[in-house]
Amino acid sequence: MRLVKQSKGNWQYHLNHNEADILLGLVKKFPFTELSQIKISKTDNEPATVERGKLLNESLAEHRKALKTLAMNLLGNEKWQPSGEGQLLTLDSGSREILLQILNDIRVGCWHALGEPEVLESPAAHSSRKDLTYRKLMDLAGYFEMKFLEPEV
């Protein structure tokens, strides 16, 4: 996968067939994990802050639902064009951000599901099938994040 063109808030990437299939699969099956509850503050436990935290979590849950809908739009043919040995994916700035949020939701969600390991090394030999799937999804999401942001490195 590589950036082909960037102009006026539009990005065009070339993906080989395998990459295109995997990316579409990730977007199509999103979300893979339960949404984790977050704390709005580590030190402020005032009732008002706790209440705001609840609202924040509700809002994030709504946002995730919206991402799912927007994700389906990313599957639309108008964004994809066959090109030689693969596909061209054209994204405007907003769609690119949605895709990045989806990919990182997958990555971070899988990390939570794995028990939030401090070290992200190769999976242990005794890992369960489920854990191996989470690990693979996390790596794939990270791969695409890197590729989408590579021009910014």
């Binding site: 939701d105 990555r107 971070v108 969600g109 942001l149 910014e152």
Partner: protein, 102 residues
């Protein structure tokens, strides 16, 4: 009969003396981003640039602070704005909280 109803008297303008306002005394919060091993450095930099409108250099400085010191204070704001930033950062799945400044 007048075609337009007019007030009998012109209301006097309300003059407010400039003293310390409620806003001055309102609590402020630090928007903190915490380190974790899962968010990629390039991704964190991108999100900071996007949300705060920072130049890449400033975004990278804060990203490195998160990475090396475990956290970085990204902004100091009133409650509403701090909450807004935490929400935006959390949409991108960064570990962000707001902590009272005093």
């Amino acid at each position: 009969m007048p075609s337009i109803l007019e007030p009998a008297t012109i209301p006097k303008p309300v003059i407010v003396k400039e003293t310390s306002s409620d806003d001055d005394r309102a609590p402020t919060f630090y928007v903190i981003c915490w380190n974790d091993p899962v968010n990629l450095m390039v991704y964190v930099t991108h999100v900071f640039m996007k949300i705060f409108g920072w130049e890449k250099q400033k975004a990278q400085k804060h990203m490195l602070e998160v990475h090396e010191k475990g956290k970085s204070a990204l902004a100091r704001e009133g409650m509403e704005k701090a909450e807004f930033y935490v929400h935006e950062l959390q949409k991108y799945k960064l570990h962000a909280t707001m902590e009272p400044a005093e």
